[in-house]
Symmetry: C2
Subunit: 305 residues, 2 copies
């Protein structure tokens, strides 16, 4: 089944303790697509400026990513410049230049209007709501958000919750949105406002999937070297939704597996700058890492102890 | 098999967002014993002052905890006063009064001198080394430590590493001791200095067990309300070592199960002040929580996807 993603397509300049990269491919839709395309076909809607290196982005087309929803308009592209220090869990934003992204009004091409799965990446909740009006109800709608929208667009974000099946957000955002310090209570608050599923991402500390009264936890893979954490969350979402779309199965058991595929893709994303590692990773490597996750948490209960 | 623990026996005064408790039972050996005694016999070596509420501590004797190694001497007991704010992961120490603990010189009674398992709780590494000279080599020696000793007794702590089979420490302590920001590399550094096993505790984010090239991860149990985090680490150690002593099995599979028993006991400890919950929890409740941990991380690989 196909996945439609609507989000940012940006140029990132990143500095980590291990090196720096300038004007490399970035943005939520870019990471999502590079990740999900290992598992299913992806359609992308976004906007870039006249300065965007479309030839580099088009590498994604070799992997069944349809860039037909990317508008290139006059002006400069969305640029983000950030730095990670030794605590790789939090980025320090040095510069954000929205450029043409500040006037982004997602237009869903007719051939994208019946997606099986839809991922509303981190953009203004008003735009996320506008996208929903342009598509036939997909099998699953998932959305992401961030602290900026929680502060500036709370009513619209709460309205959006009533229209999505799943939301992904990180632990501090979950606490901020719900005003609950306990994550189980935060997830319950969110589910009471609409989504049947909540994924709370804790960066290097893993991710929770909440669904009804069930909780699933997946650790982050303990890599020996994390090179650049940028895009880990969107790569996670790409692996997660990509696996669901590949299998078309929304059972609890399959959702759990999908979280592990998401975690695996996130773990590859951070091994290099930008989408570099996502462009070279192979399906056997992905399956091997999924298996490594199984080994990481496996234990047998002892019923006689 | 029996477990000997050498550590602090203190009185804690704790304030959390949910209430406060004054002069309640605390200390590493106290939490460890209350936890481990659900699984095996425990022998305790420690020191208290003339003001210690021994009648309350003696409640532990009903559960096969032998307090014969606790010396009561003239002077005041070790007292700790601390506060947790909404971030329950870190305590703010308001007052530490070492009292008779500052002159603690562990003396192992003759009948404790052949322990099957030994836990050197968080005390001066010089004292931990002195304990090792007073006992026949146990089946497994585990030790804990803290930032204060890493700073003030580094050579003795590194010497100790050469004599223990396992060390438990939290993530910031592991980074501080090894000067490695990556936890996998930190664990490798520690194993190169002696211990065959390293447990890195991440509080509400779970715990890693490193052994040879294997890594096992156990999440912390996602409780809806954490009441008082004091003693979680020592309760974890008690469940972990207690389960190993109960089963006498040091295989990788059993060590993994032991980490889950440790995590389960840690999750009960934080449900109430002091050792209150550890005193009332039942074996069926413990087994039920172990099962809940299994549910929390369980997923099946899909070999056809």
């Amino acid at each position: 089944m196909s996945v439609l993603v609507v989000g940012s397509v940006a140029m990132d300049s990143v500095e980590t303790p291990f090196g720096k990269a300038d004007d490399v491919l970035g943005g939520s839709a870019t990471f999502f697509s590079a990740s999900a395309s290992h598992l299913t076909d992806v359609q992308v809607v976004g906007v870039v400026g006249s300065d965007y290196p479309m030839d580099k982005l088009r590498e994604l087309e070799k992997r069944n990513v349809d860039l037909g929803g990317i508008e290139q308009v006059d002006g400069s592209s969305f640029r983000w410049r950030g730095r990670y220090r030794h605590d790789l869990n939090s980025a320090e934003t040095l510069e954000t230049h929205l450029g043409v992204f500040s006037h982004f009004e997602p237009k869903i091409p007719a051939r994208f209007a019946k997606p099986d799965f839809l991922f509303l990446a981190n953009i203004d909740p008003r735009l996320q709501l506008a996208v929903l009006k342009q598509v036939e109800r997909p099998k699953l709608v998932a959305s992401d958000t961030m602290n900026f929208w929680i502060e500036s667009r709370r009513p619209e974000l709460v309205e959006l919750l009533g229209h999505v099946d799943l939301i992904t957000l990180n632990d501090s955002e979950a606490r901020q949105l719900t005003e609950q310090s306990n994550l189980v209570q935060a997830a319950r608050w969110i589910m009471a406002h609409g989504p049947k599923h909540v994924i709370i991402k804790k960066g290097e500390h893993g991710a929770f999937l909440f669904r009804d009264n069930n909780i699933f936890f997946a650790p982050a893979y303990p890599l020996e070297s994390v090179f650049d954490p940028t895009g880990a969350g969107d790569s996670f979402a790409g692996g997660f939704i990509g696996y669901l779309a590949r299998t078309g199965d929304l059972s609890e058991a399959n959702m759990r597996r999908a979280v592990i595929y998401g975690s695996a893709m996130g773990s590859f994303a951070v091994e290099k700058f930008s989408i570099e590692r996502l462009m070279t990773v192979t399906r056997p490597e992905i399956d091997e890492r999924v298996h490594a996750f199984k080994q990481l948490v496996a234990f047998e209960e002892d019923l006689d102890a």
